[in-house]
């Protein structure tokens, strides 16, 4: 028997579902491979549903909604039009053939159009064969070494004199704590073994512990949502936080998402010449960084560096040159190392859901096991949830004990968002264009 793909079609009840019916009534032939799932709106189709469908063994996913401007709920299909192409490019980046996922518009009267789209889609998926999305460990372990990235360009960091910035941070912290303007200053200290780490300073006497140096890599903004969360009726006291330029963008994103208000936090912005990795070279995120001055601050410390460090090193490029099955092999081999310790999520200032979707006991999207399928769903889902919100501080990748290049996923999505909406997360206090509905006009085609 020849291969017949299994296809899941999410059909909007107000248009394409009836459109499929119209095709039937008019006796227009549609492929039998399509399993229709009726949804109230194409905007309901969350990335988890699509990934779950692939998880469960579908070979292709088709999403059909109302034409733009004809949504029963006014803007539901705008959501779909903004979000699903981003999911499409993410899954393509992760190694799924682009033909396996398709979003289109079909109205209730367009039976012929439904049939045409369904037939074309089915033919394209049939030509590709079964999906290698859900794999059993062992099959792919063959030779991933040949797929490893080329040696990255190491840019050694020259030791910079940071004593001026350290002194300025200490003085400002002392002033803020003495005047009781803030209750706590979140900054950096040098811990035992010489490792720079976050510190919480509550008294003026302790401010001598604060430092600034090229190892101040942690994004301290990730502490703010919890620290500034109202406890009962009591509003938390104001907090000062030391931020680098990339971290300052995270402040803007959280402000746009109403995690706290601007008057709850005193931002001590520090200009940045780049951070060091463990080997003493410039961190990869800093190589392409163009922001050297914080975008939001109450106090600015340091002069912006004279010379920009912007060196064009396009990391995802080598990966995108690989054919899809190999790309998937690469990603699965990376995700396979994951131990689900959630260090990436916990280090991320944007990952502040009270209970992560991927950790809920009652989650039907992903199991709690530490198997390859769960890990893949977690990482791709997390990357998607950060689309348009990730500021590229790359703390997730740095926190990962297993050296998984998670940052590549975020970087890819940031590029996609920039191309589609000309939007950079956190440069201003505006929410991500893909979580809003009316801003960021959708252009068909």
């Amino acid at each position: 028997m020849s291969y017949e793909p299994r296809i899941i079609a999410f059909l909007c009840t107000w248009c394409s579902y009836t459109g499929a019916d119209t095709a039937g009534i008019a006796r227009i032939k549609s492929p039998a491979n399509i399993r229709a799932i009726r949804v109230p709106c194409s905007g309901r189709v969350s990335p988890e549903l699509v990934m779950r469908a692939f998880d469960q063994g579908t070979d292709g996913v088709l999403v059909l909604g109302c034409h733009i401007g004809e949504c029963h709920y006014d803007t539901g299909n705008h959501r779909a039009a903004k979000r699903l192409p981003i999911l499409h490019s993410l899954m393509q980046f992760a190694g799924l053939e682009p033909e396996r996922f398709h979003l289109d518009w079909v109205s209730a009267s367009e039976g012929e159009r439904f049939s045409r789209i369904a037939t074309e889609f089915t033919d394209a998926v049939r030509a590709l064969g079964p999906v290698s999305w859900r794999v059993t460990p062992g099959e792919w372990q063959a030779a991933v070494e040949s797929l490893l990235p080329p040696e990255e360009q190491d840019i050694p960091m020259t030791a910079l004199d940071c004593s001026g910035k350290t002194d300025a941070i200490r003085a400002k912290a002392k002033e803020l704590l003495t005047s009781r303007e803030v209750e706590c200053v979140i900054g950096y200290e040098v811990g035992p073994r010489g490792r720079t780490r976050p510190v919480f300073i509550y008294t003026p006497e302790e401010t001598g512990r604060l430092v600034w140096n090229p190892d101040a890599s942690n994004n301290l903004v990730s502490y703010l949502p919890v620290k500034l969360k109202p406890k009962g009726k009591e509003l938390p006291k104001k907090v000062a936080v030391v931020v680098k330029p990339c971290d300052s963008r995270a402040v803007n994103v959280l402000l746009a998402e109403n995690q706290f208000t601007r008057d709850q936090v005193h931002v001590i912005g520090v200009t940045c010449e780049g951070m060091r990795d463990e080997g003493g070279s410039l961190q990869s995120k800093c190589i392409t960084c163009e922001e050297h001055t914080p975008v939001v601050y109450d106090t600015l410390i340091g002069e912006p560096p004279v010379k920009g460090l912007a060196v064009t090193v396009d990391r995802p490029e080598w990966l995108e040159k690989l054919p899809p099955p190999q790309r998937m092999e690469f990603w699965l081999s990376q995700f396979d190392r994951c131990i689900r310790c959630y260090a990436c999520r916990q280090a991320c200032p944007m990952c502040n859901c009270p209970t992560c979707l991927y950790e809920r006991d009652d989650s039907t999207f992903v199991g709690l096991g530490i198997g390859l399928n769960e890990k893949r769903t977690f990482h791709l889902g997390r990357a998607y949830h950060l689309a348009g919100r990730c500021v590229g501080c790359n703390e997730c990748e740095r926190a990962c004990p297993m050296n998984i290049p998670i940052g590549l996923l975020n970087q890819k999505l940031a590029e996609e968002i920039e191309a589609a909406f000309d939007y950079h997360a956190g440069l201003t206090v505006t929410p991500s264009p893909i979580v809003t509905v009316l801003s960021g006009e959708y252009k068909e085609g």
């Binding site: 035992p192 689900r340 959630y342 260090a343 999520r345 916990q346 006991d361 096991g369 004990p401």
Partner: protein
């Protein structure tokens, strides 16, 4: 676990003899050894001895380099299927899935071997015996590799270990000039050693002269400081991730869950869990016994130095082997040695 002591026999072998021997082992059993995987070292199966990360573990380094995850993952994998459930109409069939392969692990550091020994007191020495763990443990032979020097975050000497402690492995290898001194520690280890091919020697390994770096608080001290503010203070930077617990050779908490495999098919799995996670031990109704970050981080230290030793009769020993992995992986620089030293400081 048979730990019958035999007359300790030693052999002097060269690097190539060692490699030939390991190749022979890999032909008939699963050989697991430190291996470079995408830039980090992990215990992974190797088909030939040249896949082993020699540069990382012996020749290239002056001090002990250890894989990111401990050998724990071999006996107590991140996710393990306990049994499958097949439902046909009203009938339910359960099928246990026992691991049955023979495994040899090469390059086990003394701290990791001690970690496995400590896990035994929970999984094997206390009733009911964990049959899955027992099966894996019984089928595994540990070939230890003594450390020359302590690594930058190692502190095994402070918690009762030593860089060349051979107590908890089956065969111990000590690096000598241009080769290794091999010592059979248990009967199981002796069985692996090729009869007449190796040159026997009477040289016995020198005990390590490295002493403890700092004193560890006495067990009696821990209950007194349970409610101290100190725990809240040090935990503020904690991100509540689980990296420390998952890399730890003796953290052993797990969750058991049923997952759907397909129509009428289910599996019961157990997977790692960690007290640092916010939902750890959440009960029906939503109560979390350790809702605050400070309580959770405190539990980690209490578990290592008070609860576990008390519960499983470790005497004065602690459940920390001093491997220092948690120090290396913590994204925010929580340092277990700092905590231990702080507790010893006069108040």
């Amino acid at each position: 676990m048979s730990k019958i002591k035999v007359d300790k026999k030693s052999w002097l072998i060269s690097q190539s003899e060692l490699e030939t021997w390991l190749d022979g082992i890999a032909d008939v059993r699963t050989l697991i050894a430190p291996r470079q995987v995408s830039g980090i070292m992990l215990y992974r199966p190797v088909a030939k001895s040249n896949e082993i990360s020699w540069k990382g573990i012996t020749t290239g380094s002056a001090y002990a380099v250890r894989p990111v995850l401990s050998v724990k993952e071999i006996f107590f994998p991140p996710t393990e299927r306990l049994f499958t459930i097949q439902k046909t109409g009203q009938e339910i069939h359960l099928k246990e899935t026992y691991p049955d392969w023979e495994t040899v692990v090469f390059g086990v550091r003394p701290c990791d071997a001690r970690g496995a020994k400590l896990l035994d007191s929970l999984f094997l020495d206390t009733n009911p015996v964990d049959s899955f763990y027992a099966r894996r443990r019984g089928n595994t032979t540990l070939i230890g590799l003594a450390c020359k020097e302590l690594g930058p975050s190692c502190f095994c000497t402070s918690v009762g270990g030593s860089p060349n402690d051979a107590h908890d492995v089956d065969i111990m290898l000590y690096e000598t000039n241009g080769g290794y001194l091999a010592e059979a520690v248990t009967e199981k280890g002796r069985f692996l050693i090729p009869g007449g091919e190796w040159k026997e020697t009477t040289v016995s390994p020198q005990p390590s002269t490295q002493t403890g770096q700092f004193p560890v608080p006495d067990k009696g001290k821990w209950p007194e400081i349970f409610n101290d503010d100190y725990w809240v203070k040090i935990s503020e930077r904690c991100l509540s991730c689980r990296a420390c617990a998952y890399v730890c050779p003796t953290c052993r908490c797990f969750a058991v869950r049923d997952e759907v495999l397909g129509p009428g098919q289910f599996e019961r799995i157990r997977c790692w869990d960690a007290c640092a996670g916010e939902n750890y031990r959440r009960v029906a109704g939503g109560h979390k016994p350790r809702a605050e970050k400070g309580e959770r981080l405190r539990n980690r230290f209490y578990c290592k130095f008070y609860y576990y030793p008390e519960q499983y009769g470790l005497g004065t020993a602690s459940a920390c082997t001093g491997c220092g992995r948690c120090i290396d992986v913590c994204p925010v620089g929580v340092d277990i040695t700092e905590v231990l030293m702080d507790l010893e400081k006069p108040t």
